[in-house]
């Protein structure tokens, strides 16, 4: 296949809007192809397929979210076609619709960012019904019994082995921490409030969990950094915790949906932006990457492993609340939420996200997410892009929001606008790089032929909402913003070795309710896998 005469944005190869031809053969980008198929990309933008570093698309948590929201589904029904399955969209889309909508946006790889290890099988089952995209998932480790135990006992080698074992058993991709220590304390109705609080019943602090797992991450040579949802998420004044977390270590660390952790103020009444401080730290410290978790006004379904935070949100809103604690490993909470333009706190949250995008200077270290579906559904990414690319666009929305925003944030003082090149960085090149996916996020020779082709329009939101073409593994799967062909994507996981020791097995038989032999995810759940090895 030849993609002829497109305007190419391929930041990993330094290509910024050059007119050129791209050749594809056998699912890969090649130097030249003799195949006859030609896509005339004259006047179109050509980018690598999008790579989402943090989204909630499969598994027990999102599925409870789907169960919880019939009132949502009815607003966004998706009929079947000859080539696609039916479903529903809105804040918690069904699996098929998730795959289709990502593809229609030009996204081809997505990470499910929070998986209770014992529920890993569930995630892989849903992955099999999530078409079009390549997937990976991050098992939750920040409140795992073995992690707490081995840190408490100062058994670093055992900890390292356990982490490797768990990645293997779950077919997971990266170390995820959510409110480290706090979720274990929540199992007794408590929480941790600082990096140095003790976890309930353990002589371990969140700081120790973060630093030890970060060290394990580097010693194992995992492709991604540790992926951290910080303590005190959502709370006024939490930007200090976030900075403390980042400065607790020198290893690589990815702070996820950092918008929710960049708050100043002492309470809801004095709620304000801490984005400048957070951005300032990140600008000075290269070991940190982050994704934003940008708020999009409208309906959302909040869901995290952060049980105590979800309880707080339930108490704040009075909305229906799900809490789901998972033996030995983690927890979860779900609360429906509406982000309102006229609500001062919500408007400040919206502005903080944009401040972070605009104040963090290096686009290779700040990525586009909405922490789908927490701050809004992923298919609103084109809106976010339009705010980043146009000061005028964000000014229009800013004018509609609560007046207090200008006082409590610096957004109205910022006139930076993202270029298309920078958009390509924060949506595909940098995320692929941060995940250590060498064949993704670029269009160099040998890369996977995952390509998004957009019409260049004055309205960037429209440009990015419906890709003109999407090529996945070398085949056209989207035409004119509609699915043209079904596709089963890969599942990536990381083989870091790791051995099930007798001690691990013994603890299983004592304290789990599942036999050790029935715990690891079997090969049957990986219809198309690609194993990534460590450095």
């Amino acid at each position: 296949m030849m993609i002829k005469n497109g305007t190419v944005y391929d930041p990993l190869n330094g290509i910024d809007g050059e007119r050129m031809d791209i050749f594809v053969e056998n699912g890969k980008i090649v130097e030249e192809s003799k195949e006859k198929e030609v896509i005339d990309a004259s006047g179109l933008m050509v980018m690598p397929g999008g790579v989402d570093i943090h989204s909630h698309i499969a598994g027990s948590k999102i599925n409870i979210g789907r169960l919880l929201r019939p009132e949502d589904h009815r607003k966004d029904v998706v009929p079947r076609t000859e080539i696609t399955r039916s479903g529903v969209g809105y804040t918690v889309p069904t699996t098929f619709v998730t795959g289709y909508r990502y593809a229609e946006l030009g996204y081809t790889t997505v990470a499910e960012a929070a998986v209770p290890p014992i529920g890993a099988r569930h995630v892989h089952e849903e992955f099999a019904d999530t078409p079009m995209i390549d997937k990976m998932m991050f098992p939750l480790m920040g409140n795992n019994y073995f992690v707490l135990k081995y840190i408490e006992e100062d058994e670093f080698e055992k900890l390292k082995n356990f982490v490797a074992f768990l990645l293997n058993a779950t077919k997971g991709y990266a170390i995820k921490m959510v409110n480290p220590g706090g979720v274990e304390s929540w199992k007794w109705g408590k929480n941790v409030e600082s990096l140095d609080d003790k976890v309930e019943n353990y002589d371990v602090t969140p700081r120790e969990v973060i630093t030890n797992l970060a060290k394990v991450n580097e010693e194992l040579g995992l492709p991604h950094s540790v992926h951290v949802h910080c303590n005190n998420l959502g709370a006024p004044g939490n930007f200090e915790t976030t900075i403390e977390t980042m400065s607790a270590l020198r290893e690589r660390i990815h702070i996820t949906h950092i918008q929710f952790n960049s708050y100043a103020g002492e309470d809801w009444a004095s709620f304000a932006s801490g984005a400048p401080e957070v951005a300032n730290y990140i600008n000075k410290n290269e070991h940190v990457t982050c994704d934003v978790g940008q708020v999009v006004f409208g309906d959302a379904t909040t869901m995290t492993a952060d049980g105590p935070w979800q309880h707080t949100l339930y108490k704040l809103t009075g909305n229906k609340w799900v809490n789901s604690d998972v033996e030995m490993e983690t927890g979860a909470g779900i609360v429906p939420y509406v982000f309102r333009e006229r609500n001062l706190v919500n408007a400040i949250q919206w502005a903080i996200g944009l401040e972070l995008f605009l104040l963090i200077e290096d686009p290779w270290r700040v990525y586009l997410t909405t922490d789908h579906p927490n701050a809004g559904p992923f298919y609103h990414y084109p809106k976010v892009i339009s705010w980043l690319m146009s000061n005028e666009k964000r000014g229009e929305l800013l004018a509609k929001t609560h007046k207090g925003v200008s006082k409590m944030t610096t957004l109205s003082d910022i006139d930076r606008e993202y270029s298309l090149y920078e958009i390509a960085i924060i949506t595909r090149a940098a995320t692929a790089k941060a995940l250590g996916l060498r064949d993704k996020g670029h269009l160099g020779i040998g890369a996977d032929a995952d390509i998004a082709i957009y019409k260049l329009e004055d309205d960037f939101e429209r440009s990015f909402s419906r890709a003109k073409y999407v090529i996945k593994d070398g085949e056209i799967v989207v035409r004119d913003g509609k699915i043209a062909k079904g596709h089963l994507g890969r599942t990536f996981w990381v083989d870091a070795g790791g051995e099930a020791t007798d001690e691990i097995k013994e603890i299983f038989s004592e304290y789990y309710t599942l036999n050790f032999e029935n715990y690891p995810v079997q090969e049957e759940y990986l219809p198309r896998q690609e194993v990534i090895s460590c450095k």
Partner: protein
């Protein structure tokens, strides 16, 4: 040959520690399972179904291919087919059944509609505070069973999960826990209770609501025959425990009030979390009814009672639930898989199944197969083929295969029927 760590495909406990001995392709012994597990494995080859078609009002033996052809023909020509059952099969078959329902524009429902359907409706209204069974094993010092009888229905629940088990913070097992049973009658479970609260049938809603009020410090007085003092005592135990759990069963979902009972119970437990840590878990019956809900949710957004006649999923219990669709004589064909509605539905609902062309896919002869137009035998899930099942707390476990099947699996049959429907 001895198979270890075998998962029992009977109830929602999904005990995964069975030892099954197979000689010459037959199960000759099982260890550790309850009497039902033993019966399931030891009797798996009895009363097995054969491919059959009804001709001149008699069921006649045919080839499985012929049976599948006829099944596809029935579904293709129906205006409003019903697909029902699914709780005693694995998730891949459930995925295929949903695809088939969508393809033929029919209604799909699973047995949740006659067990914990009201629970699912209530979760949609209230939310739920729940946990996996290991949390209870490791932490619970107060365990309440309300309208459920694990002593007869989930025989190893006490031992493995809820009462006798020892865990991280319950090293003494039974001694570390207070057990309260609430029921309308003495039964196998009440014997184990520290407190047995015997209540009048159909008074659950009032008593749960009284407990909610008492927990918030309101005076309630005697309610539905339960003394004021008893309500206060139970409320106090709930508030003062460290980690409580309320298990409930069909005593709440099937009694007067139905989902209103569950609304009250979910709200009670949610409120208790202002004072301590408390969870509420439903006791799911069939081994993969939870999976039937999970699969339908991830494919359609809804747990049961889903209709595809408009090409997209619509959900409405009472409208698209099997008992209602049948009672109102709305469907003109039915595919029953991995369930036996004739032995579980009100007679009037069953009568319609006998009148319309009904396809039964089941490893065994069932009552429903006696009125069927087409009978398609399959491999027995968890004995003769593998697949995923979700435990009552929604932990997914891979079922094992211990003997060779004579017939294809539910999944294979459904996929074949899908191909035939598409081809026709």
């Amino acid at each position: 040959m001895i198979h270890e760590h075998v998962v029992c495909p009977f109830c929602g406990c999904l005990c995964d520690d069975l030892e099954v001995t197979v000689e010459d392709g037959k199960v000759v012994n099982t260890k550790r399972g309850c009497i039902i597990a033993k019966s399931k494995f030891m009797n798996h080859d009895r009363d097995r179904a054969k491919p059959m078609l009804r001709k001149d009002d008699e069921l006649i033996g045919v080839s499985i291919e012929e049976a599948m052809d006829r099944a596809a023909e029935i579904l293709r020509s129906a205006d409003h087919p019903l697909i029902y059952g699914l709780s005693s099969t694995e998730c891949d078959a459930q995925r295929a059944a949903t695809e088939l329902a969508e393809l033929v524009g029919g209604t799909i429902d699973n047995t949740a509609s006659v067990c914990h359907g009201p629970t699912l409706v209530s979760v949609q209204a209230v939310g739920v505070v729940k946990c996996t069974l290991g949390e209870i094993k490791n932490r619970a010092d107060l365990v309440i069973f309300w309208g459920c009888n694990p002593g007869e229905a989930h025989l190893r629940h006490f031992l493995r999960y809820s009462v006798l088990s020892k865990g991280l913070f319950t090293q003494e097992g039974r001694k570390d826990r207070t057990v309260i049973v609430v029921d309308v009658r003495e039964n196998a479970s009440t014997k184990l209770a520290d407190i047995f609260l015997k209540i009048r049938p159909n008074s659950d809603f009032e008593i749960i609501s009284a407990l909610r009020a008492a927990i918030k410090g309101h005076e309630v007085g005697d309610v539905a025959g339960v003394a004021d003092g008893t309500i206060k005592e139970v409320a106090e135990k709930m508030k003062s425990c460290k980690f409580g759990v309320l298990f409930f069963g069909l005593g709440l979902t099937m009694s007067k009030g139905k989902h209103m009972n569950i609304d009250a119970a979910l709200s009670l437990v949610r409120d208790l979390n202002d004072y301590t840590k408390f969870a509420i878990n439903s006791m799911r019956g069939h081994f993969n009814v939870a999976g039937a809900n999970e699969v339908l949710i991830w494919q359609t957004g809804y747990p049961y009672s889903v209709n595809f006649s408009r090409g997209y999923p619509r959900y409405n219990p009472g409208e698209f639930s099997a008992v209602d669709v049948l009672s109102r004589k709305e469907c003109d064909a039915a595919l029953i898989i991995a369930a036996d509605p004739l032995s579980s539905f009100p007679l009037r609902a069953s009568e319609h199944l006998a009148k319309i062309p009904t396809i039964v896919i089941d490893p065994k002869n069932s009552m429903t197969s006696l009125v069927a137009e087409v009978v398609i035998p399959t491999a027995m899930v968890g004995v003769e083929c593998e697949g995923t099942a979700y435990r009552m707390d929604c932990i997914p476990i891979r079922l094992r295969k211990v003997v060779e099947p004579e017939f294809p699996s539910d999944k294979e049959v459904l996929e074949e029927i899908i191909e035939k429907v598409k081809a026709g």
